[in-house]
Symmetry: C2
Subunit: 225 residues, 2 copies
DNA sequence: GTCTGTTTCAAACATACGTTTGATAGTTGA
DNA sequence: TCAACTATCAAACGTATGTTTGAAACAGAC
C-alpha cells in the first residue's frame, strides 16, 4: 500500500513507551519490537530517535494547540472585551485538554505524562523544538493569565505560574500511578476529568492567595528584599 | 591515608551531575573524570551505579530526616496536644529543608532538584530504596497534614497533597533555570528561601480551597459521581 | 624489611545503543 | 513488460555504557 501504517505503529508504540519509561530509558529496539516493525524503520521514516520524539509530540500537540486556539477565541468572545476570570481561563485550558479526541482510553494520561516529561527531562532538543513550534498558544495562555490576575505583581505571578505548571505536570504525569494507589488505599475510582476538576480550584486558590511575603516567619537571616 | 577522600569526591561529582543531567544521562565516566578518580573506583567503593545513586540520596536524606524529626517534635510540643495549623506544618518542613547544613552554595538547589528527580524519573530501584529507608518521616508529615486539614475528605486530601508535591518538586527541580529566567526577564534576584516563602502560602491556599467538585462546569459527559 | 590488607590504575570485557548498509520485495506509472 | 521508486529486512558498524580483572602502589603492624 502507498501509505503504510508502519509510521503510525511506530508512533503508537513510541508514545506509550516514552510515557511509561522516559526518553533515554526507551530504546529504538523496544519501540520497533513493540510496534512489530523492523529496527531500521525508525531511521528510515523519521531520520533519528530525536526526530521520532518530536513527531510523537507533534502528533498530539498540533491538534491540541488549534483546539486551544478556538477555546481561547470563544472565551474572549464570551467576555466581550472584559478580561476573563482566572477560573474561566483555567477551565478553557482544562476542557480543551480533556475534550481532545483520543486514540484510545489511555490517550489523555499519556498526553499528560508526556507533557510532564517534556518539562522534567532535560532534553535540550525537545525544549527547543517545543518552544519554536508551539510558542504562540503558550504566550496567549500567559497573556490571559495575566489579565485574569491583575492584582499580582509580575514576580508573584511568575512564580505562581511555575507552581501551577508543577502541580499540573507532576500530577498528570503520574496520574496512572496515583489513581492506582487511591484505588488500593481507599477503594475509589477516579477519572482524569475528575482529577482536573479537583486541580483547577486548587490552582485558582493558590494563585489568589494573600501576599506571599507577609506570612513568612523569619529565617536565620532573612534575605527577602 | 586510611580513609581516602575518593568516596566524597565521587559523591560530590555524582550529586552535581545527577542534579543537572538526570541519572540515565550521567555516565560513570563523566562522574569519575569530574571527580578526578579512576573509573573503577565507583564499582570498588559503591558496588554499582545504582548503589551510588542510593548513596548520593542517603548522604543528604539521612541528616535531613533527623532534622525533620526534631522540627516535628518541636512543633507538636509547641502545639501542646492541639493539632498544628496547616501553615505551621508546611513551615516546619520548609524551614528544615532551608536550614540544612550545606556543603556549598549550590547545596540547597541540588538537594531540591534531586528530590524532584527522584519523583520524576521513574527509576524503580530508587523509589523502592527511598520508600524503605525514609518511610517514617514521610508518614509522620502525612499524619500532621491530615491533622492540619480536618475539613477535607480523605480523597480530597489525597489529591491536594499530590498537587502540593508536584508544585514543590517541579519548582525546586528546576529552580536554577527558573531563577535565571526571572533574572533575565525582570532583572530580579531570587534566593531559594524566597521561593519557599512564596510557595508555602500558595500551597496553603490551595489546600484550603472550597469544595472542588462544586465549581466544575459540565463536561460533554459528566463522569463525576 | 617484610608481610597483610586496602586502595588505585590501565586495560579489557561483554553488552546495549543509535545508525548505516546493501540486498530484497513491493508498488506505481508509462 | 519494464523501469523507477518506495518500503522492508537481516546484518553489520562504530561507539558508549556498566562492570571486571590483575597488576601496581600504598598503608600500617610486627
Amino acid at each position: 500500500m502507498a501509505q503504510s501504517d508502519t509510521v503510525d505503529r511506530i508512533l503508537d508504540a513510541a508514545e506509550e513507551l516514552f510515557a511509561e519509561r522516559g526518553f533515554s530509558e526507551t530504546s529504538l529496539r523496544m519501540i520497533t519490537s513493540k510496534a512489530k516493525v523492523n529496527l531500521a524503520a525508525v531511521n528510515y521514516h523519521f531520520g533519528s530517535k530525536n526526530a521520532l520524539i518530536h513527531a510523537v509530540f507533534a502528533r498530539f500537540l498540533t491538534p491540541f494547540s488549534s483546539t486551544l486556539e478556538t477555546a481561547f477565541n470563544n472565551l474572549e468572545e464570551r467576555c466581550d472585551g472584559q478580561p476573563p476570570t482566572l477560573n474561566q481561563t483555567l477551565w478553557a485550558l482544562t476542557e480543551s485538554a480533556v475534550r481532545m479526541p483520543q486514540r484510545n482510553e489511555k490517550g489523555i494520561s499519556i498526553f499528560m505524562r508526556l507533557l510532564g516529561l517534556a518539562y522534567t527531562q532535560s532534553q535540550g532538543h525537545l525544549r527547543k523544538f517545543l518552544e519554536q513550534e508551539y510558542s504562540q498558544p503558550f504566550s496567549r495562555f500567559m497573556r490571559l493569565l495575566k489579565e485574569s490576575t491583575p492584582q499580582l505583581s509580575a514576580v508573584d505571578r511568575y512564580w505562581r505560574i511555575q507552581f501551577m505548571l508543577g502541580a499540573t505536570a507532576f500530577t498528570m504525569s503520574s496520574s496512572d500511578a496515583l489513581r492506582d494507589i487511591l484505588q488500593n488505599k481507599l477503594g475509589v475510582e477516579t477519572t482524569v476529568q475528575e482529577i482536573a476538576a479537583r486541580l483547577v480550584p486548587f490552582l485558582a486558590a493558590g494563585m489568589q492567595a494573600e501576599d506571599p511575603l507577609l506570612m513568612m516567619p523569619t529565617f536565620g537571616k532573612t534575605s527577602v528584599a
